[in-house]
Symmetry: C2
Subunit: 268 residues, 2 copies
Amino acid sequence: MGKTLSDRCESRMSVGSLPIWMTMISPTASARLDARPLYQQVETVLIDRIASGAWPPGHSIPSEPDLAAELGVSQGTVRKALTELERRNLIERRQGRGTTVLRHTGDTARFHFFRLRDLDGTAVVSRIVVLSCTPGEADAAEAAGLKLPEGTPIYRLRRLRTVDGVASIFERCTLVAERLPGFHLPQGELSTELYVHLQRAHGVTIEHAEEDLSAQAAGPEESQVLGLPPGKPLLMVQRVAFDIARRVVEHRISLIDTERYRYAVRLD
Amino acid sequence: MGKTLSDRCESRMSVGSLPIWMTMISPTASARLDARPLYQQVETVLIDRIASGAWPPGHSIPSEPDLAAELGVSQGTVRKALTELERRNLIERRQGRGTTVLRHTGDTARFHFFRLRDLDGTAVVSRIVVLSCTPGEADAAEAAGLKLPEGTPIYRLRRLRTVDGVASIFERCTLVAERLPGFHLPQGELSTELYVHLQRAHGVTIEHAEEDLSAQAAGPEESQVLGLPPGKPLLMVQRVAFDIARRVVEHRISLIDTERYRYAVRLD
DNA sequence: AAGTGGTCTAGACCACGAC
DNA sequence: TCGTGGTCTAGACCACTTA
């Protein structure tokens, strides 16, 4: 085959109106270059619609037959693309109801990005207190963590997580300002999950994150905040979080007292 | 449909010989009870053939059209089942060459189950020294880790991993004897990956593992083995490993000096 | 040239949910 | 009742490997 979505669309332009996605792709440039399978091209189109905000979180997207007709491909091809989006936790499909763009709730955000578990394996609930939130420019260490140049505008966020009333996690977050125009934290809701807020207030959906774990002795700042003796072994988690377009949004260093809780991982 | 694989087979029994999988399923019991989708039933059949050793690691399995004909389903249904097996890292498909049962190599075992990375993200190579290997019965702690009753026959394995000549990881492994009849370690190859050996010598394929991470101060045994000051923060990884049939095979406690290396995780 | 898995299509029927 | 996604089929053509 080797045909491109735009080829198929051009042959239909006389009948229908210009599809949204064509406004984002240069027709001349994409004419021959995109030799990827059709279902991957469909995938890209759908992701662009979600990432651009055309289909915001919670939006019901067109049915599979409608999408197939609009894009000039078969329903099977659309299904294959949607299956991949579902695997990436970008959409939710339900028989009889239709397909919607996933909206981060506290539960889903925690399920995917909060790996702390009780000793018997049950999920842990934590309360969050924001200690400080200030704009600034990335220093050497922060720039290295974000893999962005030094001096990049950022926001610095310090948080404390409390489990069962016990201060257990100290978090230093570094947020990329460019991704979050007009960033501010709601004063009242200190316990809001950060990623839920980023999606609701800035339209930024965190899709995946990479974490590096190590053991670290408690330094002066964290031993004071967590109320622990200096030198006590803590679990240090360094996270880099990416949005749907796989751009860096956040770097976070969490220091965790694992006396009563464990960080759970599944390996396949 | 709601039809069962055995229904479809019965209608073909007059022409072909009895398929392998029918010998493992009671025809009467499975006649009405298995209301799962066909592709999942096919999946089960194929997994059984792999788990039973009928298709050992490295074996080239029949082509998709052949499997479809044998099982009385369409090629698309077989493809869907194979796609899931591929996702679970049980098989490898290559265009033009065919499909083979995955054989653990040192590389694949490390890639899936060894999460340690250099500070710049490159994979770490380690040499293994076996300190001891003795049979015994599970004590309370070991039984809890394996989620098996106390007194279950086990093998205890102590290993030391060296990275760049520096002792970095001390491992206490507990292996379920029932899964590994006649278990012994090859004397010469101290650096063999355990999971490669389990597959080659005992036909046991480790498919996935669950790990709990915490920070722990070095105790007397590990500080001596690793040559570290007592009380130094170490990363403690408690792993439970499962075979293809999702039965527990191993419990392992690793104590890691994360001075120069990191445990890497990807969250989706 | 023959056979493999990979892509794509068209259409049937089913299970579920909303109206 | 209707429209949705889920399952299953049959068959075409392509890309790749092997002989």
